[in-house]
Structure formats: C-alpha cells, structure tokens
C-alpha cells in the first residue's frame, strides 16, 4: 500500500496540512491579537488551497470555454465546483478579518493594550473590584 506512487499522490495534501498547522500554532501560541488574526488568515488560505487541490485533474485546463463557444469534446476541464465554493469562502474570510480588526481597535482604545495576558489581568481586576463594590451598593457597575 505504501508505494512511491502513493506518497507522491498524497504529498500535496500533507504539505497543506503542515501549512494549516503552522497557522493554527500562531493562533494558539502567540499572545498578540493582530498576530492571531494573521495566523487565522494563513490557516484559512491553506484550507482553500487544500480544497482546490482536490478538484484538479492532471492534464486538465481551467474551466473556461473558448470565447466563440466551439466546444472540443476531448478537452478535460478541472472541476469548477470547488472554485465556486472557495470564492464564497474568500469573501466571508475578509468579512471576518475586518470585523476582528475593528474589535481589536476598540479593545486597544478601552484597555490600552492588545496582548492577551495583560487583557486577562485587567479583566480579572475589573471583575474583582466590581464584586467588591456590588456589596456596597445594590446598583450594578457604571
């Protein structure tokens, strides 16, 4: 089962998995919020490439007919369906990225930092002072 042909045939899938794991590592391990968003972008892009590499046919061509529509029946086309799905996914990807960046700008304005551990400390202290002040007066904070 483990022949040379098998390895060559699957090498590109494994390669894209390595890229995906690099992006995931950036999201998990790094504390800076902007770097996390960049890592998420790397992860998304490598997932797209993985998905499109499933649809490729060796010896095929891009799924566009000639302009005068004289269709040659011997030409093999690559699968157009993953292209359509990934086109939608790219647009959704920028939507999420722009919303994430807007939230990062607001976090910086409120807390003064974009490092994850500093934000955690500030949130803990705010919660602590809120519970302490709640015992004094029954109205909530602010």
């Amino acid at each position: 089962m483990i022949t040379w042909e098998f390895i060559i045939g699957h090498l590109n899938y494994w390669f894209f998995i390595v890229l995906m794991m690099t992006g995931l590592y950036i999201v998990i391990a790094k504390g800076n919020l902007v770097k996390k968003v960049v890592g998420l972008n790397i992860f998304q892009t490598s997932v797209f490439m993985f998905y499109i590499s499933i649809g490729k046919v060796i010896g095929g061509t891009a799924p566009i007919f000639p302009v005068d529509m004289k269709i040659n029946n011997d030409v093999v086309y690559s699968n157009p369906l993953p292209h359509v799905l990934i086109l939608t996914a790219i647009v959704v990807g920028i939507a999420t990225t722009s919303l994430a960046l807007a939230l990062i700008v607001r976090i910086r304005e409120e807390y003064g930092t974009i490092e994850e551990d500093e934000i955690f400390i500030i949130e803990q202290e705010l919660d602590f002072s809120n519970t302490r002040s709640n015992t004094d007066k029954p109205i909530g904070h602010f």
Binding site: A62, I64, V67, L87, I90, V91, S98, L101, A102, V105, R108, E109
Partner: protein, 146 residues
C-alpha cells in the same frame, strides 16, 4: 504626504486605469475570469489608494460617506429584486428565464449581468466604508513612537 512627489505622480497616473480595469472585469465576468467580487475589490482599491496618497478628505468629496452607505444596501436590494421579479411572471425565485419572455438563454444573460452588478456595488461599497471607518479614528500613538 505632500512631499512624496513620486508617489503622487504615479497615483495620479494609476487611479484612472484601475477604475477602468474594475469596470472591464465586472462586465467581462462572463467571458474571462472575473465577476462581481473581483471588480468590487479592484474599484475599492482604486479609491483607497487615492485616499491614502492624497488626503482622505479629498476621497470623501468624491464619494461622500452617505453615498457609500446607500451603495451597500442598494446592491443587495438589486440582487433580491431580480429574484422577486420572476415571481411576477409566474416562475420560481431567481429563475432567470422569466426575465426575457422570448428566449430563456437571453433571460439567463440578463439575470447574470444584473446580479453581478449588484454584487459588485455591494462589495466595493463595503470595502470603501470600512476604510472610511478605520481612517476617521483619531490615533492615540503619535508619529515619534511609530
């Protein structure tokens, strides 16, 4: 940015062809790679590069923010309206053959043209609106720290 002469000259040369290329990609989406999304992004890039190199106030005079906000909604409405119009002819939602009574293929062509236009308008409006929103925030870091 007043003293970057090369940038200003190149931008003046480039903005026109960029917007023209955006229109080309939009309307040739049927014949070559392209379509609504790509055209919307390229058009937004043309306006954004003008807004970066020259002042953003000048870009806001060309496309004022209230116009961009109306563009956002207009694209989605155009798309939905194309789908709803086929209700009046007795077909299903988004069935383009109802758009042209004498030939189903012409109906498909009209339908694809109009919805790509709607998508292009919305995407370019969103990108420009996001750029305006990011750019109107006053920055708390002064230039020396940068």
């Amino acid at each position: 940015m007043k003293h970057h002469l090369i940038l200003r000259v190149i931008t003046k040369l480039l903005v026109g062809p960029i917007i023209l290329f955006a229109f080309y990609v939009q309307f040739h989406g049927d014949y070559s790679p392209g379509g609504g999304f790509q055209a919307g992004v390229i058009m937004a890039v043309g306006i954004i590069i003008y807004g970066i190199v020259f002042d953003m106030e000048h870009a806001k005079k060309v496309l004022p923010p209230w116009f961009v906000h109306k563009m956002l909604a207009f694209g989605v409405l155009l798309y939905t309206f194309t789908g709803v119009i086929s209700f009046f002819r007795g077909q299903n939602f988004l069935d383009y053959s109802a758009l042209s009574p004498h030939s189903a293929i012409h109906g498909q062509h009209y339908g694809i043209l109009i919805i790509e236009l709607g998508v292009g308008i919305t995407v370019s409006g969103v990108m420009i609106a996001i750029y305006y929103a990011f750019g109107s925030r006053t920055s708390e870091i002064n230039d020396a720290e940068w």
